[in-house]
């Protein structure tokens, strides 16, 4: 059946039309026949499990961008981000030339192919989680999660595009000759115009990207009466390239290549969640509150457990040693054009206090 309904928000459907529609619906469904409903006893009901939603994208491909104007100046596709002002008051206009999610071997977005996102046995999940299982006491937590990390015996190396089973803790598999894999090529090519100056291009491409183990958890804080969250972003790619050449990037000599790129970013944890708010002047505020200071005498002068209140000492010991609270950035090799700068590691970053507040520069 093919129904094309054109609606506008101005449209107010008269009540008689609604009744007619509802009537037609009931007529159709009542003619299908009824099956008897039986009540379940307590034992049967206790077997019922509520579960979250698993989401997998099969043979997925996404592409949007901005086309070069034709002879008459018309553009078939436009994708613009605007409304930003530079510090000297000029309008900043970002033209997104190409944004894509594609299968591997896309050659920087030129040959788009399909890719699976998430595995049927380890999908993307939207779930309401019991907070007690993840360290958020007595709360129901809404969780959006990428495929979870797995036991290294059942997983694949997170970075290598030719990883085999048992090589690492990522669940998503790289593409092989007979399977499209679960690691997409993603890219964003954009032109940033400040006022009339259209010279700035920024093109970012990630090959065989993996975000396994990432999640966003949201819940409510009773004391502050506010939405709080916890954000973990894992991003692995064997090759992340950034260049600022022309839009096509065909004749680009100074590509910045980040080989074997791994970012594990943790913003907020069970003890210091992220708070989201808008202040009275209409500015967006993101805050990670500082952890409470120990009271005098709770931690001994020598800082050892023996001279301190044990529970307090254990609390701070856990806070400063738990690797889940820390962010890491590792780059296997950093190169610009034909120059290699070697590898880089920033490990064990702990956010102790963070406050980001947007400001309106308009007069």
């Amino acid at each position: 059946m093919f129904c094309r309904v054109k609606t506008q928000s101005r449209t107010v459907i008269p009540r008689w039309a609604m009744i007619l529609l509802a009537g037609a619906w009931i007529t159709v469904y009542s003619s299908q026949g009824w099956s008897e409903l039986e009540s379940m006893n307590d034992a049967e009901l206790s077997e019922v499990d509520g579960a979250g939603l698993g989401i997998v994208l099969e043979a997925f491909k996404f592409s949007h961008g901005t086309d070069v104007p034709d002879a008459s100046g018309d553009q078939a596709r436009i994708f613009k981000i605007g409304g930003i002002t530079s510090t000297d008051g000029r309008d900043v206009d970002i033209t997104v030339n190409h944004l894509y999610i594609s299968g591997s071997g896309s050659n920087y977005g030129r040959n788009l192919g399909p890719v699976n996102l998430g595995r049927l046995i380890n999908p993307y999940r939207i779930d309401v989680v019991d907070g007690n299982t993840i360290g958020v006491a007595d709360k129901a937590v809404l969780e959006f999660a990428a495929p979870a990390m797995v036991n290294p015996a059942q997983g694949f190396d997170c970075i290598s595009a030719s990883a085999v089973l048992g090589s690492g803790s990522c669940s998503s598999r790289p593409a092989t000759t007979d399977y499209i894999g679960e690691r997409p090529d993603v890219g964003l090519q954009m032109n940033v115009a400040v006022g009339d100056d259209r010279s700035a291009n920024i093109n970012i491409h990630a090959v065989s990207a993996v975000i396994d183990g990432s999640y966003l958890r949201l819940w409510g804080d009773n004391d502050r009466r506010q939405m709080v969250g916890q954000f973990k972003l894992n991003f692995y790619s064997p090759e992340l390239s950034i260049h600022a050449c022309d839009q096509s990037g065909e004749s680009c000599g100074s590509r910045v290549l980040l080989k074997d790129f791994a970012l594990e970013l943790a913003i907020g944890n069970e003890l210091q969640p992220v708070f989201f708010d808008v202040d009275g002047a209409g500015n967006f505020v993101v805050e990670v509150a500082a952890i409470q200071q120990p009271a005098t005498g709770e931690i001994g002068a020598d800082g050892l457990r023996g001279s301190s209140a044990p529970a307090t000492w254990d609390f701070y010991e856990d806070y400063y040693t738990n690797p889940n609270y820390r962010s890491n950035l590792r780059i296997g090799n950093f190169s610009v054009s034909d120059r290699d700068f070697g590898s880089m590691r920033v490990e064990g970053m702990l956010i102790q206090h963070l406050e980001i507040r947007t400001r309106d520069l308009a007069p």
């Binding site: 449209t11 039309a17 007619l20 159709v28 509520g50 939603l53 596709r77 595995r119 049927l120 939405m227």
Partner: protein
Amino acid sequence: MTTNAPAIVSLLICAVALSLPGQATAELKRLDDQALGDVSGQGGIYLSGDVSINELGGPIENSYFGGCDDTTRKCGARFAYRLKENGGWMVLDDIRGNFAFEGLTLRVRTIDSGFGGDGELFKRDVLELGLPNTVRFNDVRFKIAASSTARPTDPGFRQTDIFSVGMQGEVVMEGNLLVFPAGNP
């Protein structure tokens, strides 16, 4: 009250078409539980859509909202939500434009093969939403903003527009979205 006659007519045509299951009318017989137990759902839904949001302007006319030909006022829809008791509001503002798609499909599918070997392990039913390959955007715009009050006409209104997005043309969106129960009980 404003009405849109073509929209009502097309809705009615759909309603009438839905209520006529076939060309000929045959006698309906009641199925017993046993017979019903053998019936399995087949087929699915094929949808084409054309959605316009405030293409020419919304229904409200006041000091802030107005027609799209009036450059001093905003004609898009506004959606505000608050993250803190007595706090400010996050706003999706000036939402307008038109998007259309053909061939969005919805069906239940049994997966027991494929997916690089995962299909055989999975062996269950999923809800499959077949993406329409391309979605046509016609001057779709919206702004992300933060505001001191829910409505722009409330006293003390102040707003910071963080950024705006404009989209036009055909967006490639291929593949199938598979949805199934998973996760923690």
